[in-house]
Symmetry: C2
Subunit: 249 residues, 2 copies
């Protein structure tokens, strides 16, 4: 049993990455920053990868650069991919971001902030970078608990990607097997926040909001802000996030 | 047995796409143009997708637009993804493209023109577009015969991607199954050229060269040009390609 949640296995148990290069997908948010700290705690030599995908919240990319530097990654890469040409999500198309929803409302169905095939695209890019760097370890913040039903955040998706990776690459053809580490998979947001605190991550440098105000501050009312706020509350840890006054909090 | 090669199954047998929307990955080359013509012959309503990935040969993208229009696609999309930030290939990094190699030389090992995880990235983008369009059919020109050992051109890679797609998407979570059609998989280049001729494709509008001259003409000596030239010779069909004088042919 984990000290971070009642039922999940301890994310700090198992896995020895000592001296192994790993590619960490970094969004600039709380989850992936915690993944980077996890990677360092496990001994990996992390190279971070941020994806600029036409998201409304480009402020995340600045946060990612800052987090990579402050948490001691070996290198930071940024890949641009314009998912707006594909469309279909409130995060990339001109649809309204939902606000003020209860935990119950968020739990039902796949939300319109779901970006078609996003994690498949992101893991594919991380795989390409890993292959170039001679690494066979990818680390990503996918989470099946608080992900509001995104299909590409489930463990079976991650296992299927590992199978694909072995067949997709030169390294795989030569016998390497790829591992996608998802240390947050079975934690709820409060558990992730406790893990971050244990690892000494300063979460004030992370950004979660889907729709920040013009001053770059978090809105406090989108699904992502609400999950984050409730997570700090449940964890019993003070929330260092600065919210814009629009949130009324 | 196929009329197009001695051993492969007939790519025009089976598959009924009547009235179904499909996403066709279009590179601007001979293979994917033939795939688009195949899709139309099968009754699919194709939407074409070209990926601008930082390749040296951006002239391909113009060819893709032209091919999409001339071969009757419903729509054409272009997605930009900068694979140069990942590096590792002569097609995207500053490495020398190999020239004048024999068929035997090309057969051995994975060449430096291999782009890490390229087809994984491309299929992921096609999957995202398919999901947005409500389509569950992807069509791509992967080919295991003349692909010089690229790991992501093999049938087992394609099957693994189909498995991933069902787990990666909202449509898959709701029961849809995705099919990646690769009508060229078991054809050699001469077989593809014969198929294109049967389907009435004007191959002079396609572009295959890895390293075109400043006037946009094909070099005639890179692996891709050599495969194409030998394909026309073997097929007994006149090559309509205009090569630059640098090729000495």
């Amino acid at each position: 049993m984990s000290p971070f949640t009642a039922t999940a296995p301890d994310p700090l148990a198992g896995v020895n990455g000592t001296g192994k290069r790993a590619v960490v997908l970094l969004s600039g948010g709380l989850d992936s920053a915690t993944c980077l700290a996890w990677a360092r705690a496990k001994g990996f030599l992390p190279v971070t990868l941020a994806v600029r995908y036409g998201q409304r919240h480009a402020v995340e990319l600045e946060a990612a650069r800052r987090i990579s530097r402050l948490l001691g990654a070996e290198d930071h890469r940024e890949v641009a991919v314009d998912l707006r040409a594909i469309g279909g999500s409130a995060l990339t198309a001109d649809l309204e971001v939902p606000r003020g929803r209860s935990a119950e409302q968020m739990e039902h169905g796949i939300p319109i902030t779901y970006v078609p095939a996003r994690n498949t695209v992101f893991l594919a890019l991380a795989l390409g970078l890993a292959e170039t760097l001679g690494s066979s370890d990818l680390i990503a913040g996918m989470n099946a608990i608080d992900s509001s039903g995104y299909p590409d955040c489930r463990p079976e998706f991650v296992r299927a990607f590992e199978s694909l990776a072995a067949l997709a690459t030169r390294a795989g053809a030569e016998g390497a097997s790829f591992r996608v580490h998802t240390p947050l998979m079975l934690l709820n947001k409060a558990g992730i926040i406790r893990l971050a605190a244990t690892l000494g991550v300063d979460l004030s440098i992370t950004h979660s909001c889907y729709d920040p105000a013009s001053d770059g501050l978090a809105c406090g009312t989108c699904d992502s802000c609400l999950l984050r706020r409730r997570g700090f509350e449940t964890a019993g840890i003070a929330d260092p996030t600065r919210y814009t006054s629009r949130s009324g909090s």
